[in-house]
Amino acid sequence: MNRDSSRPEAAGRRASPGSVRRDFQPWNDPAAKPLVEFRNVTKRFGAVVAVDRLSLSIHAREFFALLGPSGCGKTTLMRLLAGFEQPDEGEILLDGIDITAVPPHRRPVNMMFQSYALFPHMSVGDNIAYGLKREGLPKVEIAARVDAMLGRVRLKGMEKRRPDQLSGGQRQRVALARALVKQPKLLLLDEPLGALDKKLREETQYELMDLQADLGLTFMVVTHDQDEAMTMADRMAVMDHGRLLQIAPPDLIYEAPASRFVAEFVGDINLIAGKVTAIEGDLVTLESQTLGVIELDEDAPTCRPGDALTVGLRPEKIALSHDEPAQAINKVAGEIWDIGYLGDMTMVQVMVGGDDGKLFKVSLTNRTRRIERPFAWEDKVWLSWDVEAGMVLAS
């Protein structure tokens, strides 16, 4: 668990995203005791099942992200942990202790609210001290801890201000400080960066990661923003209709999604329907209506000849060329319908199989400053990809 050394202090050297902390994988260790455990938790609101027989383990010092479309139940899951909602079935354990019946003010869990929920009638200092005062700590200790926290979130000298005299970014840091100063076993963050503009959001992402690593805390972030989740999280869970569809590190979620929903929800994807014609070792051969014969390399394939499958292909894994690539195993001809220039990359839409065929998204990284672009609308082009690029998706 040598994470701190993998997270350099200097802002400019923050190279590795959260998912690349090599030795930190407690979820793969069967002996590791999880910090938080959901056991078959169900929560209903009237006829709506917000959380459906859900089981989940989160480990100490983990940065966990819960990703899902709005209304998927992710906020309810967080509120169950904070104690604002009671599960109808199942139990929630924290450090091995059942906290299902513990009221919110007695849980060693703190939450940063999406709206920040700063007390408007208190100064910044009083806001941060609020939770410590409730614990009945001596005044001197409260002052010292508030002061240290103010330094930590770069709000020194602001303690006398009221929340309405702060900028959005400062308010966000007060909300974070107010929750962190309690030294919770688990910090819940509800859309922590949702109210910030794009530049500030990126900066704050890295700040949150540094803070989490430095303090050795466990964070659980709820978000609908996949970039945010993927940047920060050690592991992320994709949720829909009250169930967790996949729990894995971000790279696995992206490169090996467990289902079609996950593949479509995280990142862009091209879907190809096909029928298995042959399997030789790991090599699966399919017949697709629009693409003809394609081959893909699947670890220990479970499909059998004759099965109907959906194959997913990420846009950046497809190569684009004017001439037919002689060497490629998977290739198909098409016509460019649309080109979206985004600066760092270009998103090209290629129609395959005639005017009523299928549109493919292909992304090209703009590695040079050449303004004259190699592709134009209505160009006849070839798409090609490796056998490793395609992935079989369960529907």
Binding site: A82, G83, F84, P103, P104, H105, R106, V109, N110, M111, F113, Q114, S115, A117, L118, F119, P120, H121, Y130, G131, R134, E135, R178, A179, K182
Partner: protein, 262 residues
Amino acid sequence: MRRFGAFHLAALVAGFAFLYLPIVALVAYSFNASRLVTVWGGFSTHWYGALLSNQPLLDAAWLTIRVALVSATLATVLGTLAALALARYRIFTGRTLFSGMVMAPLVMPEVITGLSLLLLFVAGDVERGYWTVVIAHATFSLGFACIVVQARLAGFDRSLEEAARDLGATPAETFRTVTLPLIWPAVAAAWMLAFTLSLDDLVIASFTTGPGATTLPMRLYSAIRLGVTPEINAACTIMIAAVAVAVIGASLLMKRDALAGR
């Protein structure tokens, strides 16, 4: 800004005259040196001095203030609790009924409120006097207090209370340290409104009071039957001043609250 036309100006003057001329006359004649109400005998504060030696009137005023203080406090506490229940629990059995019942005294004719309370007190064999008036006043001003507090709670961010709970505050601590400080201007405004309503109520007090508990409006009303004196004018002027202060105070608090709520 467009200037007032002659017609608009006339309408404005007529409107204000209609509303305030009687009060102006009353206040002016309270400074009349003459004993005769309709004859101006020069400026004097004599009648204000005379008030101080009118023991029955002073007793009535003191009783009225005591009734208003206690009933306003009762109405504010109960009205605030009702408003909290209505704002917090959006769905509960009988919510519409409860809401309607809290608001009903607002539109109920005072005679009916007074009569029904009288019947209740008689049936319950309650001795009528100070406390029955207090209860009656609290009953009819509760609805007003509830509406004022409810308006504030409508814009209240519930996550503030959840944040307090999350940071370790018990429900009671949350109410004391977060909810109440944020809604207190509305609570204070509600109290002032209830105080004013109690202060100038004649009808309900007449129904529910007993021997030895005569409020100021009742005392004035009975005094007028023997003829209007400048002394009564002076008493009324003081009452108008008290009510005006309370109403202006309440509206300032509500305005401040509305500004802070944005």
